[in-house]
Amino acid sequence: MEASEDHVKIVEELREAIGAENVIDWKIPRARRIYVAIKPEKLKEAVKHLTERNFEHISTISGVDVGDGVEVLYHLTRQGPGRGITISIRVKIPMENVSLPTITDIIPGATLYEREVHDFVGVVFVGHSDLSPVMLPDKWPKDVYPLLKKWKIEDIKKRLSEIGEN
């Protein structure tokens, strides 16, 4: 699966749109997959630019605890027979300030994905209309973000039995 120059052009246009200094890193591991790491301040601009270049579909948003911070990946997909490409915009935010602006004003369909990332790694999406739990139960202790590496499953279960569940 060879990547075509189409992919490089997409990255170059993105760099031009948000400023080359704001693109930290990028890679094209195979055809139809692009990963671009950008500075968090340019997130909304990048998403807006991509939605105007046919990357209108948001497949999902992944939150990953990478030790010294949280990495949030926005997987945007260009759809259409023979035209599919998934570009993953990577932003890294520090543990002391896990917050990002919401993109639901650009892509309303991102609403549940942002809530899910909030549930699991605690990212606060500023401007989101309702960050209530979407996956976790209502009675879940609010300080436990299960997908952070510091929470082992045994510790989570212990915490749940402390509040009378399990």
């Binding site: 591991p29 195979r30 139809r32 997959r33 990963y35 209108e56 579909h57 948001i58 497949s59 999902t60 992944s62 990953v64 605890d65 990946l73 997987h75 997909t77 759809q79 259409g80 027979p81 023979g82 035209r83 599919g84 490409i85 998934t86 993953s88 892509i107 309303p108 369909g109 991102a110 609403t111 549940l112 994905y113 899910e116 699991f120 739990p133 979407v134 996956m135 976790l136 139960p137 299960p146 997908l147 499953i153 989570i156």
Partner: protein
């Protein structure tokens, strides 16, 4: 402010047709829905966290059970992700067999759904007929894989079982029978007033909304958007197979029914093509007993019966993944469902929700709030369905 009365009707599980429990809060003005809020998560088991402390083979069997209806989808998508990370070349015969099982699963899932949808609009006879015919597919699945549900055919490096010649012959015969039945049901649905009344013009989702709300699968294609992961981002052998993306422009529940019937007929064609062109050769490559995946980041997209499925694997080397993320298609369709409910009758709520083929039950309980009187009441699905069917009988 107005008086608020709450009528809590004792919760009873809904009809066993429905799957995971759910909760909806629906605001109504008279007979119309003015707002809807969905609260998923009743089925959350903590699978993503579990993958971080399991080996890859253990994860294979864990992911099979993310959803019992589309188990092949999650398993094979996982295998594709791991194989890409390991740079493993899977034999051609294995990929063809995987494709055959993939499409057989689509047949079982769509026919399951068609029966359930018929039940939702009170057409129980059709429900029973379709599920009787679905047993043809279940029998074939069992003969190929050893089980009706949870087939465990794919494995890292290929597939576990081959399809011998006599089974291929029976598979073709079974598909012929099933195809006749699906064609019959499709023509019936397009002529039967009971169905058309409940499905045409109901649950409209405009193409613009379908894209903005990130809808996937038949829900997206029933609004005319030509997008299918098998064509957009081909995996397995879909770049070699001639295959059509089925769309329909109606944007309503009837369109979603038609798209799924068409997809079933197209799946049968795909399976036939695969059987005609099944290459010889081994069905798997040897993979070490303890699977180690090098440092890699892989995104695997897949067209499950319900829509686009995405898996994201992050490996830092070793026998367990660093992070494994799964987004099932139903989550992608929930914002669209909320939009679709607005402006429709209460009586339409069950079929609109069912039309996205939710991989959760159409609710264990629904809370209704009348915005004018602020009266609220709780119905279980059985009550809502009975209300809907009676309402349509009286108002058609």
């Amino acid at each position: 402010m107005g008086k608020t009365e709450e009528f809590i009707i004792p919760v009873g599980p809904q009809h066993p047709a429905l799957k995971e429990p759910e909760n909806f809060t629906i605001k109504v003005d008279g007979e119309y829905v003015v707002d809807a809020k969905i609260r998923p998560g009743y089925n959350h088991r903590g699978i993503e966290k579990a993958t971080e402390s399991r080996t890859y083979i253990q994860i294979l069997y864990l992911l099979e059970r993310v959803c019992g209806i589309c188990s092949i989808c999650h398993m094979t998508n996982f295998c594709l992700a791991v194989e890409e990370a390991m740079n493993l070349e899977v034999p051609a015969r294995a990929n063809y067999i995987r494709t055959i099982m993939h499409e057989i699963e689509r047949l079982h899932s769509h026919s399951l759904w068609l029966g359930v949808a018929a039940h939702e609009i009170g057409f129980d006879t059709l429900f029973y007929y379709i599920w009787r015919d679905r047993e043809v597919i279940m029998d074939l699945t069992e003969r190929i894989s050893g089980n009706r549900v949870n087939k465990a055919i794919p494995t890292i490096g290929g597939v576990r079982r081959d399809i011998p010649p006599e089974l291929i012959r029976d598979l073709r015969k079974g598909l012929d029978v099933f195809e006749e039945r699906i064609k019959y049901y499709k023509s019936l649905i397009l002529k039967e007033n009971t169905v058309l009344n409940r499905a045409v013009g109901v649950g409209i989702l405009t193409p613009h909304d379908a894209v903005a709300l990130a809808a996937v699968g038949p829900t997206l294609r029933a609004s005319g958007i030509k997008s299918d992961v098998r064509a957009d981002d081909p995996y397995l052998v879909f770049d070699e197979i001639p295959f059509n993306v089925m769309t329909h422009d109606g944007c309503d529940v009837a369109s979603r029914v038609i798209v799924r019937c068409d997809e079933m007929l197209e799946s049968i064609n795909v399976i036939r093509y695969c059987l005609d062109h099944l290459p010889d050769g081994p069905i798997r490559v040897k993979v070490p007993v303890i699977v180690r995946v090098p440092e890699a980041e892989v995104i695997s997209l897949w067209e499950a019966p319900r829509g686009e499925l995405i898996h994201y694997l992050k490996s830092t080397g070793g026998t367990m993944p660093y992070r494994y993320k799964i987004r099932s298609p139903t989550l992608g369709n929930l914002p669209a469902v909320q939009k679709m409910l607005i402006g429709n009758y209460i009586a339409d709520v069950p079929i609109i929700i069912a039309a996205i083929d939710p991989c959760f039950s159409c609710t264990d309980r629904m809370t209704f709030v009348n915005v004018n009187t602020e009266k609220s009441w709780v119905w279980n699905n059985e009550q809502l369905r009975r209300y809907g069917n009676k309402w349509y009988q009286q108002n058609s």
